[in-house]
């Protein structure tokens, strides 16, 4: 049931085809799922549904769970008892119970391997090239960095995958995002993906799977590639992926869940084929020139509301039509900014370095290199570093990064989603501006009335010292 011509297939076509079980009687495709990641927020109702229907988990070994959204980032020694909110605690307890009941491997709150599910999967080698990966979380697109087809799903679909090991869906269209050239110093994967979203808009890739190609993508580390794929969903794409190469294989080799010996060799032979054909057909293509990119900052309440650090907040008077003028005006009002206000004038109350977009070891290294020997500005009320996993945290401590952050006046926390979505006690107060390395600047995302500016770890680090946004290119 190939819907592409031999020699013209995209990477997405190939992975799709490799997992196609068939078409259901209603015409919907069944796609076999290799890895299912679970966390505490979107799974309880799925397990409950399974129980009510009297079904069991189809393939227990395909599932891996860790609590991340609700866990506190302080006083971890207290374990689940340290979750002060009883409702949040019940959710983490419920994940524990569900995993125990079904025999699913879980890195629980005491486990050093616990962390944000999208940091943990790749770190463990649970995400492998060519896989189909799903999770009840939209940022599952992160895992596409490995040449895997990774998609965020809803709770009903979580139950569907638990029960049948399949996802029922129709195929998306193919979109290529090609980034030519090389990124300038001080400009990172985060800036690249923010620039792309600024170009496409938040719905520009709806109904498509993005493949990122081009020299600038090939030059990225796996961390950088994960940052880019992570934010595919912010352009509307359900998945974003990058072809496998030496960088991919080097990262995967030796990870706890990765194959070894003969199994590795067999896998590698297959993985080396995971790229689009030279003449692959894409339904849509956009091209960016890496050399022209600058550090980016979001000024508004949607990731597409983004400008270069040398730019200004827009003027509603310049908008293309009334609806857009209205949405610009509304966003400016919410953000407490005026039209044409330079980005570097934005004064920051809090700094958040964390989230599944930018809380990996490389992100922490970059941020630490900028704050080393300096002090967080007095006007900044709080500067947080929340590592993506317990293992990232331990490595950063071994490398001396934790000390650098602490000496600069940052707080050094335990892993979790934390202030990315403020389900735990880490949140913004109404009206506060935050330089955040996360992925969403929606109204209230980091706390009721909070104002989020999305930036790279380097930009967040520089802003923490200056107290307002600065062009990090001048600091390195």
């Amino acid at each position: 049931m190939l819907d592409w011509e031999p020699g013209l297939a995209t990477l997405y076509d190939k992975i799709w085809d490799d997992h196609l079980v068939g078409r259901r009687s209603d015409g919907v495709c069944l796609l076999y799922i290799d890895a299912h990641l679970l966390h505490e927020v979107t799974s309880p109702q799925a397990f409950e549904g399974l129980r009510l229907a009297g079904r069991s988990v189809w393939r227990v070994a395909a599932n891996l769970a860790t609590p991340d959204h609700n866990v506190p980032t302080e006083n971890r020694a207290a374990g689940i008892g340290g979750i002060s909110d009883p409702v949040a605690r019940e959710q983490v307890v419920t994940l524990d119970a569900n995993c125990k009941q079904h025999g699913i491997t879980q890195f629980d709150i005491h486990d050093i391997r616990q962390g944000i599910v999208h940091v943990v999967g790749p770190e463990q080698g649970a995400t492998l090239p060519g896989m189909t990966v799903v999770c009840g979380d939209s940022h599952t697109s992160t895992h596409g960095a490995f040449g895997a087809l990774a998609q965020g799903i809803g709770t009903s679909e979580v139950e569907h995958v638990l029960a049948t090991q399949c996802l029922a869906q129709s195929k998306a269209r193919n979109m290529a995002v090609r980034v030519d050239g090389a990124l300038p110093d001080g400009v990172y994967a985060k800036d690249l993906v923010l620039a792309m979203i600024g170009m496409t808009g938040t719905a520009g890739a709806t109904g498509h799977t993005i493949e990122y190609t081009g020299a600038a993508i090939r030059a990225l580390t796996m961390e950088g590639r994960m940052t880019v794929c992570n934010m595919s969903i912010e352009a509307g794409a359900r998945a974003g992926l990058i072809a496998v190469d030496d960088i991919t294989l080097e990262f995967v080799h030796g990870r706890p869940f990765a194959p070894v010996g003969a199994a590795w060799n067999a896998a590698e032979t297959y993985w080396r084929t995971l790229e689009s054909d030279a003449d692959a057909q894409f339904d849509k293509e956009i091209v960016l020139q890496a050399e022209r990119l600058v550090p980016h900052v979001t000024w508004g309440t949607s990731p597409e509301m983004v400008v270069g650090v040398d730019g200004c907040a827009p003027d509603p008077a310049d908008a293309a039509n009334e609806i857009q003028a209205d949405s610009v005006a509304r966003a400016l009002h919410y953000m407490g900014l005026s039209a044409n206000q330079p980005v570097t004038d934005i004064v920051l109350d809090r700094i958040f370095i964390g989230s599944c977009t930018n809380a990996r070891i490389e992100d922490l290294r970059v941020a630490a290199s900028i704050v080393a020997g300096k002090r967080v500005a007095k006007s900044v009320k709080q500067a947080l570093v929340v590592p993506g996993s317990g293992l990232v945290k331990a490595q950063a401590e071994r490398e001396g990064l934790a000390d650098i952050f602490l000496q600069a006046g940052f707080e050094w926390r335990d892993p979790g989603c934390s202030m990315c979505l403020a389900m735990n006690p880490d949140k913004l107060l109404p009206g506060e501006h935050c330089a955040s390395t996360s992925n969403r600047n929606f109204e209230g995302r980091q706390g009721h009335g909070g104002r989020t500016h999305l930036v790279s770890p380097a930009m967040a680090a520089a802003a923490s010292i200056a107290g307002h946004f600065v062009d990090v290119r001048e600091w390195i």
Binding site: V21, G22, R24, S25, D26, G27, V28, L30, Y32, D34, T42, P44, Q45, G49, A53, R55, W58, R59, A61, H69, A88, Q91, T94, L128, G130, M131, G136, D137, S138, G152, I153, G154, T155, S156, E159, A163, T164, A168, T202, A203, G207, G236, R238, A263, W264, A266, A267, Y270, E304, S327, R330, L421, A422, M423, R440, F442, E443, G444, H448, G449
Partner: protein, 213 residues
């Protein structure tokens, strides 16, 4: 799942693009382990001036009287009229649960975000895509006529206005059938368990490194 046939409802105009699921149901309500109890907190941070939490009832809250859902003429809304890219952001199905529990049976917009659109069909909420011009017209009609009501006939793929005119809409035939019959996705797939098993056997040989079990 609840079947969808013919439904009528007062139209509530939400004149904003890119309404994300964080707005539809803010994160503090996601701590629940149940599928119900979200209706009172639909659009919580727009509907109320204070920050709500699980267990705090609406009558303990400060109402934002300017927000469309709180205007007397839009009480008992059943159809939500919205702009582009409705439901973007987080995959939380809680957004669909909240809309339905509040009383919405359908959402009409020029476009929807993928995961949200999908989640609608798992629960019996009908997302209708109409052209921008049609949406503009509807916004104007709603503004003009208090109590503006639409009747949606899914079998005919038709939206009827009270003045006797109608608007037709497109919907994937399979998705339509699923809603009409209230079919459960897992049940549909369950009928193919033999095919899944057969696939798994071949796949295990082909991609053996993925199977340690």
């Amino acid at each position: 799942m609840k079947a969808f046939g013919v439904e009528s409802g007062v139209v509530v105009p939400l004149d904003r693009a890119n309404v994300d699921t964080d707005q539809i149901i803010p994160k503090q309500f996601l701590k629940s382990i149940r599928r119900t109890g979200f209706g009172d907190n639909l659009f919580d941070s727009w509907r109320f001036l204070d920050e709500g939490d699980i267990g705090v009832t609406p009558n303990e809250r400060q109402i934002n009287h300017d927000f469309v859902l709180n205007l007397p003429r839009y009480q008992d809304g059943g159809v939500l009229l919205a702009r582009d890219n409705f439901g973007c952001g987080s995959s939380r199905e809680h957004a669909v649960w909240a809309l339905m529990e509040y009383g919405f049976k359908a959402v009409i917009a020029p476009s929807f975000a993928d995961i949200f659109y999908n989640n609608c069909f798992k629960n019996g909420l009908l997302p209708i895509v109409l052209k921008e011009e049609k949406i503009d017209e509807l916004f104007q009609l709603v503004a003009r006529e208090p109590g503006f009501t639409l009747t949606i006939r899914l079998p005919d793929q038709r939206i009827e206005l009270t003045d006797g005119t109608h608007v037709d809409f497109e919907i994937d035939a399979m998705r339509k059938r699923k809603l009409l019959e209230g079919l459960d996705d897992i049940d549909l797939t369950w009928a193919h368990t033999d095919a899944i098993r057969r696939f798994e056997v071949g796949y295990r040989t082909r991609r053996s490194w993925l199977f340690k079990d």
